[in-house]
């Protein structure tokens, strides 16, 4: 007689897991975005105009392009606060070669390569000299911008080749600017990189436990080096867009951007302690911040008040899950 022994099987994933996944941070951000959208359209009749909305995107696309690799870097337990200084140095060198009469492709290439090189410097300092990334990038933040000041002084460079303005001011189709389209393309690319590839998986593993990752055969330092270079490279791309949009270079360009970029990343649900986060969340946070600032702009709210509101928004939104878990009686994970 054969008796059929039913072995208890472990399911690949539980339904509750999937539900949890659906109702996580992104859902919350989507609701916020929808709320702000509805509020704005009630508050101002100009809000729903496609051209107005399109204009609003210029406020964040360049920062958002850096927020994408920054999210990956922060997930890997590192940070780069020299990004705005990288924009400055890369814009300065673009301006200098443009002054010498370089063609468009060379100017653009220069901007991107300088960015990548700056990122590489950060990466080498962090991985080879074992200095914490926050210290390294505080240092290079002054260093990169300092070099721009030495090279330019009070000078402003405006001599860009004909057609260079397309990157920052041009439209690909109807209201869709080149900047916006580029952001969408890169957002999809980074989504794929972080959530679908081995590289992305390693990023999460390293951010959660670098030692165990190393013991599992991951080349942790090489990975970090690539991430820093990627952040630098995207800062270079942003520098091209910004310089083209403004049509000029000065050393004080993009001052203070690093904080708004990190704000976008954190608001997007990326843990500042590393290990978790999604590109989807960052994109939603970018849209949320764009809508809020645009709405406030339409209502003629002064800039200072705007920064206060953005700051309050960041703190309240980020502390909300902690408050909810406290309410549920679960001990909030502080560290």
């Amino acid at each position: 007689m054969d008796t059929i022994i039913k072995k208890p099987t472990t399911p690949d994933a539980l339904l509750t897991n999937r539900l949890q996944k659906f109702f996580r941070w992104e859902m919350f951000l989507i609701i916020l975005v929808a709320l702000v959208f509805v509020m704005n359209s009630y508050l101002s009749p100009y809000f729903l105009d496609p051209w107005n909305l399109s204009d609003a995107t210029f406020n964040f696309t360049e920062k958002a392009l850096i927020a994408l690799p920054m999210a990956m870097l922060i997930i890997a337990k590192e940070i780069d606060i020299s990004v705005a200084a990288i924009i400055s140095l890369s814009s300065t060198l673009m301006g200098l070669v443009a002054q010498l009469g370089a063609p468009i492709y060379l100017v653009v290439l220069m901007g991107i390569l300088v960015g990548a090189a700056c990122g590489l410097v950060n990466g080498v300092l962090v991985t080879q000299f074992k200095i914490p990334s926050i210290v390294v990038t505080i240092g290079t933040m002054s260093l990169f911008r300092g070099i721009s000041y030495i090279l330019l002084g009070d000078q402003v460079i405006r001599e860009y080749p004909e057609g260079f303005d397309f990157f920052g001011q041009g439209y690909v189709y109807w209201v869709f600017s080149f900047e916006l389209v580029l952001f969408v393309v890169f957002a999809l690319g980074f989504y794929w990189l972080l959530h679908r590839t081995t590289f992305g998986r390693y990023t999460f593993a390293i951010g959660n436990n670098p030692t165990a990752s190393y013991y599992s055969g991951i080349k942790v330092d090489k990975h970090r080096l690539i991430l820093f270079t990627l952040v630098g490279l995207m800062s270079g791309v942003a520098a091209v867009l910004l310089t083209s949009r403004l049509g000029s270079t000065r050393p004080s360009i993009a001052m203070g951007w690093e904080l708004s970029i990190i704000t976008m990343v954190v608001l997007g649900g990326v843990s500042i302690l590393g290990g978790s986060g999604t590109i989807g969340g960052v994109v939603l946070a970018v849209i949320l911040m764009g809508l809020v600032t645009f709405g406030m702009g339409l209502l003629n709210i002064p800039g200072i008040v705007m920064t206060i509101i953005v700051g309050l928004m960041l703190i309240s939104v980020v502390s909300l899950p902690v408050l909810i878990s406290l309410y549920k009686g679960k001990k909030a994970k502080v560290l």
């Binding site: 994933a13 081995t198 999460f204 593993a205």
Partner: protein, 503 residues
Amino acid sequence: MNDAIFSLKKVSKVFPGVKALDEVDLHLYPGQVTALIGENGAGKSTLVKTMTGIYQPDGGEIIFDGKPVYFHSPHDSHALGITAIHQETVLFDDLTVAENIFLGNYPMKKGPMTKFSIDWPTMVARSQEILSSINAHMDPNQILRELSIGQKHMVGIARALSVDAKVVILDEPTAALSHHEIHELYDLVNNLKQKGKAILFITHKFDEVFILADRYTVFRDGCFVGEGFIKDTNETQLVEMMVARSIDETYPKKTVEIGETLLEVSNLCHTTEFANISFSLKKGEILGVYGLVGSGRTEVMQALFGTARHVTGSIKMNGKEVTIHSPRDAIDHGIVYVPEERQKQGIVLELPIVQNVSLPQMERLTKHGQIDEENEMSLARQYCERLQVKASSWQEKVMNLSGGNQQKVVIAKWLATNPKVIILDEPTKGIDIGSKAAVHEFMSELVDSGLAVIMVSSELPEILGMSDRILVMNEGLIVGELAREEATPEKVVSLATGGTVTC
């Protein structure tokens, strides 16, 4: 003979699933050194924590100076003058020696600001006094980070003596010390003895017991085995008390045909941790490596896995010389390592089971640059089912599993890479008995399927029960190699402790 100043009577301590202490007795007498002897897992550390108020006993009573006492917290036992020097003393690397000695107990200036201002000159002077009384010559103003491990230990001892202690507990104080420093410690213990302190000396090393102790108490598996005067006993008797066990623990050891030599290590040396390590490993063999903490066993394994630096010597796989500079190299050559520090080195707790299993071989699971999640899942499912990992789903985060199941995930991860040699460093440390048996059973299965296993363990029964051959290490050297048939607990322990019992 005067009365005991500190006694434990039928004290028990229960943890979920384990009876760490089972009605144990212990008596300490003023002016005498009592040695507490027992294997790893005998309950020594739990005992120390119970005596110092870190744990509260679940039964029995503690008697101090003739009166029963109850310690709600370490503060209570400290107030009575019970002080412990732990294996790994908690000190602060960035504070000075004097600050470490008086931490939390700073001498304060007199006057209205007494709560806020530390009396630095007094503190430094008293530190100097304590340090010179224990023959530790160092500047109280030195930052701790700059000291050697041995010196740090002396600071830990000075810290324990900064309060007026009546009972001093030394928990394996010599584990991290050099030969010279050990002798200084002996003088110190004798010094304390003369001052009339009651001393509990916990150690694995028999030579120390016979040099220092007046009395002994032996524990085994959380139970009290016996006590008496050192002068009435000898090493053989103590070893027997310590390791003798009813052979009701059976190990699922299978007879496996031993194949050709797979791994050959010759003359492996490290600048500080070990020297002249040579051994070979054959297909189908379980090689047990036994040694005390600090004997260099883990460091040798880390050298084989590429995580130790400054290593010289040669490693051959299948007769071919290989260079291993990183875990990646080792994995590619078929050597994998299940580390002792599982949560730190073995596994990414926050990631799901499936992603932990696939981590070392992501590249193989990638199709057109993209992770093939179906393939990944089936790999994880296959190996986790083989190891009988218990989880609600394979997407469950590893942090939600029990220690035993976490260990199974680590092993599953490595098996999935099709290794040739698997190194298990304390594979059953801190896991429950059921999982232990599963891990042991699995080791037998592994060698049956043609792998070679190196098992590092400080659990004697495990070493004796599972190994085909046993290497014994002491102070960075291989001090003996025993075949399964000739290995006895006494031989292994005495080799590892540098004892005098001849094999």
